[in-house]
Symmetry: C2
Subunit: 344 residues, 2 copies
Amino acid sequence: MSTDEPNASQDAAAIDGRIGRRPTIYDIAQRVGLNPSTVSRALNKPGRTNAATEEKIRAAAAELGYRVNPMARALPTGLSGTYAIVLPDITNPVHFELIRGAEQVARRSGFTLIVSETEGAAEIELETIETLQPSVDGLLVVASRLDDDSLAALAASKPIVGANHSTPSLPSVTPDLESGLTDALDHLRDLGHRSVAYLGLGGAWINRARWELTLDLAAARGLGVVEITVDEPTVAGGAESLRRVRASGVTAVLAYNDLVAHGLLRAARSSGLQLPEAFSVIGFDDIFSAELAVPALTTLRSPLREIGTRAMETLIDPERSRTPTKVVLPLELVVRESTAAPTR
Amino acid sequence: MSTDEPNASQDAAAIDGRIGRRPTIYDIAQRVGLNPSTVSRALNKPGRTNAATEEKIRAAAAELGYRVNPMARALPTGLSGTYAIVLPDITNPVHFELIRGAEQVARRSGFTLIVSETEGAAEIELETIETLQPSVDGLLVVASRLDDDSLAALAASKPIVGANHSTPSLPSVTPDLESGLTDALDHLRDLGHRSVAYLGLGGAWINRARWELTLDLAAARGLGVVEITVDEPTVAGGAESLRRVRASGVTAVLAYNDLVAHGLLRAARSSGLQLPEAFSVIGFDDIFSAELAVPALTTLRSPLREIGTRAMETLIDPERSRTPTKVVLPLELVVRESTAAPTR
DNA sequence: CTGTTAGCGCTTTCAT
DNA sequence: ATGAAAGCGCTAACAG
C-alpha cells in the first residue's frame, strides 16, 4: 500500500500527512479550533460543556472516525476498562456458558474481557493473575486452585470475584451444592439404590466440598457411599474409572461432571454393559452434549451462564466487588435416561 | 481497609507511605540510586547495561514485587502486547480448540488475548473490531461476515488474520475444503449412495464455499445433490431439518457442522428412525462430542487447534501478518458409525 | 554505561 | 464554558 496516494476512502485517516495514524483529541481540537481538554470534556462529561460546542466536537469526531485510546486513558485514570477471567481450561464445555455470560455483561457495559487459562496449576494461576493485574480493573477467577491467603493478598491490589469456588475473603458465585446433591441422592434413594460411588477429582476445592457433602447427605439417607478418584475431569478420565466402578459393586454413580459421566457411559457401552440397568449415573453441569448421550444423561444442571453474569456484575460494581458476599445459585436435577431402579 | 496500618505482609506495597500503590520503575530507581531509564534498560534490554547494575536492579524489582504496567508501556511504543480474537459465538464447541490454540501461542510469547463475540452479525463485528483496534497489536478474526473491502480497510490500521475464512487482502488459515469434501463424497459414492443433501447455513462465507465445492465435486462423481438450509448452525437447527431431509429422499447428508449433524441424528432417533440404515450422515469439525453420538459420527476432522496456533503465529509475526498468504490445512475424514451403504 | 529530556494520548485541577 | 499546564509510567533518542 502506497503512503503517498491518499484516496477518498482513506480520507479519515489522512491526518497531518500521515496515513494510518489514528486521530487523537488533538486532531479534533485543531479541526474545531478548541482546546483538547474541551474535546475530552465534550466527549466524556455530557452537560459539562456548551451544547453547540459539544455537537460540533461530536461531529468532527465522527468525521475523523475518532476512537478513544483506552491505553492513554488508563494512565491518568488508573482504569483500563478491561477485566480478566482466568480459568483452568478453556476447552472444558462447562466454561463456555460461563465465559459467555461474563463476556456479555462486560460488553454490554462497555468493558473488554481478557481470557486466560491456568491449566489447572496453582503456580500458573498465580503468575497469570499477577501479570494481568496491572492491565485490568478486576479479575474473575473460576474454580481457583489458590488458597484464601494468596487470593486475599492479590485482591488487595485489584478486585477479584470467585466463580464456582468460594473462599472467605472474596465475593463469589457458586451453585447450591447442598440442595442439588440432596435432590440427586433423594432421586437415587427413591429409585431404590442402596450404595453409590462418588467419582471425584483430587485437588479442586469444589470437589472436596462436593465429596464432604455427599458423604454427609448419603449417610443421613442410609446410603452407602465410596469415593473413586479420577485423574482428570475429562471423558478419558471417566472412561478409565469403569473398572473401579464395577469393582466397587455400587448400583449408582455421581460423577464429578458431565465429561466424566460421558466417559463412563461410553466405556460401559463399549464393554457391552447395558445402562442404566448395570448401574445408574448422574452427571454434573448439564453441558450441551448431556442430552446427546445414550442413554441421555441425568444430571445436576448448573446455572453456568448465570454464574458468569452474576459474577461479572459483582466484579464491575465497585461496591460489591470489595465486599465478600456469597451468591449461591440453585442447581436443578434434570432426570433423563441414565438413572433407573437398580436390578440387583 | 485501613491505609495507615501497614503490616509485614503488605511491606512490598508500602511505598512512599501509600499502601496498595504498585511500584514503578521510579521506586526501583530511587531504591538503587539510579535513573529510571537505566532501570528500564536493565529490565528490558539485556546486555545494554552493566551486569552488576542489572543484577542489583532485578533484585530490587523482585523485592518490591514490581510488574511492568503494560498500559504505560503501550503509550510510547504503540504496542500493547495484547491481541484480540473475534468470533461469532464463543459457545460453539468448534471455537474452543481454536481459541485455545491461539491463547497458548499468545501466552507462550508473552502476549495477552482478548476474546470477543459478534453474535454472527456483521455490524457488531465491525463495531467490535473498531473498538478493540486501539488497544491491541492485531486481530484474529474467525469466520468473518465482513466483505473484503471492509476487512482490508480495517487491516490498514492494525494487522488482521483470518481463520476459517479466506479473503483476498488478508493472510488466512483455513481447512482444505476441496480435498476434504472429495474424501467425503468418495466415501459416500463408494458406499453406493447416489444422491446426497448438503445441510448448509445461509450467509457465512465458509458455507458458500462448501456448497459450491460440493456441487462441483458431486456432479463430477455423478451424484445427485440438493441444498437444504438450516437457520442456525446448532443442534436445534439440525433437528428442525429432519422433515426436509426425509422429504428430499436422499440417502446421505453432509452437515454444515457436527452440531447440526447431532441435531439431525437425535431428531431421527426420537422419531424412531434407524440410522445409518435410513440415511447416512457426515458431520464437519469433529468436536469432542462427535464420538459420543449414537451412532458415532463420521465427520471431517478440522484441525481446529492448529488453525488457532497457525493463525496466531502469523499474527504475531510482523512480516507475515502484513502479507496476505493463505495457509490451507488438511481435513481428515474420520469414519465412524453414521455412514453405511444405502438400503434403498 | 548511565543520565537528561521529551513525549505517547488522555484527564484533571486550576485559572480565566 | 473554555484554556493552560501538569502528570499517569514508560521508552527512546541524545548527551555525557
